[in-house]
């Protein structure tokens, strides 16, 4: 009994933290309609800034409560000011861009902030001081409970209450609520939207900073906090309903409690197996999210959003022109003779480029023609890689079978994930794909005996006849080339056209008998198979794989490749993969701060070339032909 109460309190403390992180994100989305990937980075900055302030405040001797709590508030304000700055300099320019680009721009910010933190605070974990006066624990029903956690249990509701007062009892709050409900109307009421957006963004960022700073006594400041936190925050916001603050509170409560009980209960027997519930915590919230989204596609307390703009109005055409055909043949010919002329290192790099080109092409098929944005595309890449590796290592199958089995494993994953995903659209769809990728990642990461856990699997080597890099290069060239060509072919088939039709007008599709959900489900399976093939080739080319093959960073790399090349251009993903892979390779060898550079490139790209490099080139080409 008493342990149940303690777990409940633990859950509340966790829920408070989750709420603080998520509420700012929800607030920002509600008003600006921007899904801010950098929210986790603001949280991380909150911890680091608070660490610096508080350790300085406590330097002269004992740290007083004023120094501690004051430091936390100042840290939140610093992060809020930074948020305002970013809003003014960057986001203001892209409020009218398709959602995809906004997301990408905020991801560019993530990368820049990460490298800034690395540069300013270094790579080591930094453990902050305990809160003065709250360092011990209190006895609750005969069990000890940390005093600071108890304080957190109260801080969450306190912030919720203050926000409620701000939004419901002030004129500014009325404006924010009006803008959340109906942006056009708020504009018509004479609200100065520009500064309202800036203020909301600053407030939301400050809340993220506060959430981070408050963690100082509980966890060290670490460089990877941003990604973990943003995944948590997305889940809470999506489960609660995007833009709904009570929704965020409710979702934080549910998820916090579920996690706490998973940890508390530990092992349970189930059909003769012993299942470790504490290992489930990483996945639990994503399972909650998947269930909620299927039952209530707009979240627990959310409202239906208007239609989503991905990047409409594009017109896919077969690459017909003679010049284009000659260019494709020239590239293919050049690639075919590479092993005779290039350095071995170049061949390795080219294999990477080919693999990523196929991976990006599969994502482009989903995002361009089918109009379905996936944030978790690495799930299929990783499933393909692990599927192939496990077939070789555990089942002892020959490599050739494993190469076919990997994509099959990815396809099976896509059958399951896709079934849920096609029920949603727009941002919710993107979030659900992210959730599934995260689930797959967590399972692979934690299942030590089977997948090798965080170490991954080593010794995944190709068959003897493919042992030379040249032979393997030709294998990758053939498979990836055929895969990309097949995907292009499908775009212009009746099936591909039906997907495009679904992107253009689901309403019309329904009225001419097209079962869009089924076609889109098949699209997930199709691209999952090709992404899985890329993953399988990758596994054998490296000889080892790690959970990173399913990670968010790889999913984002794929998005960047697609957008870099141009979402609606056939050659786009290939160009994007080549540029990004080459760039990463070059920059990583020369500096520790390649992420910041990548981030800057992304931001510049969004601001300057919203159609991508290949798209930009095509427009220039069309213009010069017309002239």
């Amino acid at each position: 009994m008493s342990s149940l109460v303690i777990q409940f309190l633990n859950g509340l403390a966790g829920a408070s933290t989750l709420f603080l992180v998520a509420v700012g994100l929800s607030l920002i989305f509600g008003v600006t309609r921007i899904v801010n990937f950098a929210h986790g980075s603001f949280y991380m900055l909150g911890i680091y800034v608070a660490y610096s302030i508080i350790s300085r405040a406590g330097a002269g001797g004992g740290l007083g409560p004023a120094g501690f709590w004051g430091g936390i508030l100042v840290a939140a304000m610093v992060v809020g000011a930074l948020g305002a700055l970013i809003e003014i300099l960057l986001l203001r320019r892209i409020y009218h861009a398709p959602e995809m680009f906004q997301l990408l721009a905020t991801f560019g910010i993530v990368l820049v902030i990460k490298d800034y933190v690395l540069w300013a605070w270094g790579p080591e974990d930094l453990l902050g001081p305990r809160a003065p006066g709250l360092g011990g624990s209190v006895e609750i029903l005969g069990r000890p409970f940390p005093e600071y956690d108890l304080a957190l249990v109260f801080i969450g509701p306190l912030v919720l209450g203050l926000l409620w007062l701000l939004l419901n009892r002030t004129r500014w709050g009325t404006l924010v609520r009006a803008a959340t409900q109906d942006r056009e109307m708020a504009g018509a009421l004479g609200v100065n939207q520009k500064w309202l957006f800036t203020a909301v963004f600053a407030l939301g960022s400050a809340l993220a900073g506060l959430g981070g700073a408050l963690q100082i006594p509980r966890e060290p400041a670490q460089l990877f906090l941003d990604m973990g936190v943003i995944a948590d925050a997305f889940v809470v916001v999506v489960v609660g309903g995007m833009g709904s603050i009570p929704g965020a509170a409710l979702a934080a409560f549910i998820i916090g409690e579920i996690k706490a009980y998973c940890v508390g209960i530990g092992q349970v027997g189930f059909l003769g197996y012993s299942v470790s519930l504490s290992k489930l915590t990483l996945v639990a919230e994503f399972i909650v999210m998947a269930i909620v989204l299927v039952m209530r596609p707009w979240g627990l307390l959310g409202r239906q959003q208007g239609a989503q703009r991905i990047a409409a109005g594009a017109r896919e055409r077969p690459a017909a022109g003679r010049a284009m055909q000659i260019a494709v043949l020239a590239v293919a010919g050049a690639l075919a003779v590479m092993p005779f002329v290039a350095q071995p290192y170049t061949i390795v790099l080219l294999i990477d480029i080919l693999v990523y080109a196929l991976f990006a092409a599969s994502l482009q098929f989903l995002m361009g023609p089918a109009g379905l944005v996936s944030f978790g595309h690495a799930a299929y890449f990783g499933l393909g890689a692990y599927g192939a590796a496990l077939l070789v290592k555990k089942a002892g199958l020959p490599m050739e079978f494993a190469l076919a089995g990997g994509p099959l494993a990815a396809a099976l994953g896509a059958v399951v994930f896709g079934w849920f995903c096609v029920r949603l659209s727009g941002v919710y769809l993107a979030m659900l794909t992210l959730a599934f990728a995260q689930i797959a990642w967590s399972i692979v990461y934690q299942w030590d005996q089977f997948t090798g856990g965080s170490n991954g699997l080593v010794g995944v080597w190709p068959a003897p006849w493919l042992a030379s890099k040249t032979a393997f290069y030709y294998l990758a060239f053939t498979l990836c080339g055929c895969g990309i060509w097949l995907l292009r072919r499908i775009v212009y088939s009746p099936y591909g056209c039906a997907l495009r039709a679904g992107r253009d007008s689901p309403l019309r599709c329904d009225a001419i008998g097209i079962d869009l959900a089924r076609l889109q489900w098949a699209a997930f399976v199709l691209v999952g198979t090709f992404a899985g093939l890329a993953g399988a080739i990758y596994a054998f080319s490296k000889g080892s794989i790690s959970p990173e093959t399913l990670g968010i960073p790889l999913s984002v790399d794929a998005l960047v490749m697609v957008l870099l090349g141009g979402i609606h251009t056939a050659s786009g993903p290939v160009v994007g993969a080549a540029v990004l892979t080459w760039l990463q390779d070059t920059v990583v060898r020369n500096t520790d701060y390649w992420r910041a550079l990548l981030g800057a490139i992304i931001i510049a790209l969004v601001l300057v070339f919203p159609q991508g490099i290949a798209g930009f080139a095509r427009r220039r080409w069309a213009r010069s032909e017309a002239a």
Partner: protein, 252 residues
């Protein structure tokens, strides 16, 4: 009101409310093959809502919709379309990234169950059929233009061609002449009337232009605040006191 056994569309006691708004109340009407029936009524009378219930986009709160003798309430739009129901929208819904011909080809591909093909080139399939349909609605010369650049009136024609692609027994047209000049309206409705008669289609359309309605409709259903207040041939409806009240009363 007499509902003949042979009616293609028979709607009885259809009702739908949105929150507190009773958009359609106990509406009943029928459309026979080869007949052009106009549904008229002021803005917000519930015309579009009726259409949406007939083609399955909305589920009625109560009532029945029979198409060719089959009860369709509860079926999805795409299932109802398979029974031979073509539809055009008040706010046009076409595939903006495709050409006019490709739009019609999509409908034809769907009709011929060819959408599962991953290999053939869609552009080569049902070209002639698409062309014939476009010629029928006067869009042959614009077949290769992208839909995104068409004038609104031409989009309505494309929608009509798409709606004819499944050789429908029932055609639903929500404001088919909106966005057209008066002369073009009369011309398009005359064209539609010809098609409906030659193919023995049962056609239901809404229209705000009374010249168009009285020139071409075989029968007229008048809807006001969700209720059918009159139904009959144009002369009967013209003479109906309640209709005059609704249409003229508010203006005078």
């Amino acid at each position: 009101m007499t509902i003949l056994r042979g009616s293609v569309l028979v709607v009885s006691a259809l009702a739908k409310s949105f929150g507190g708004v009773q958009a359609v109340r106990e509406a009943s009407f029928a459309v026979e093959a080869g007949q052009l029936v106009a549904m008229i009524g002021p803005n917000g009378a519930g015309k579009t809502t009726c259409f949406n219930m007939v083609n399955g986009q909305l589920r009625p709160d109560s009532g029945s919709v029979r198409i060719g003798g089959v009860e369709v309430v509860g079926r999805a739009p795409r299932q109802i379309w398979r029974l031979g129901v073509g539809r055009t929208f008040q706010i046009t819904a076409t595939f903006a990234s495709m050409t006019v011909r490709e739009n019609v080809q999509m409908a034809l591909l769907s009709y011929h169950h060819r959408l599962a093909s991953w290999w053939l080139r869609a552009a080569h399939l049902y070209r002639e059929e698409a062309h014939a349909l476009l010629a029928r609605v006067g869009m042959a010369d614009q077949a290769e233009r992208p839909c995104s650049v068409l004038a609104y009136g031409d989009l309505k024609r494309v929608e009509l061609a798409m709606a004819l692609a499944n050789a429908p027994q029932l055609l639903l047209m929500d404001e088919p002449t909106a966005g057209m000049a008066p002369a073009e309206r009369i011309e398009l409705m005359a064209l539609t009337a010809d098609i409906v008669r030659e193919r023995r289609i049962a056609a239901l359309f809404t229209e705000h232009d009374m010249d168009v309605v009285f020139a071409h409709a075989d029968r007229i259903v008048v809807l006001n605040r969700g209720s059918v207040i009159a139904e009959g041939v144009p002369d009967e409806v013209r003479a109906n006191a309640q209709v005059r009240q609704v249409y003229l009363g508010s203006r005078h």
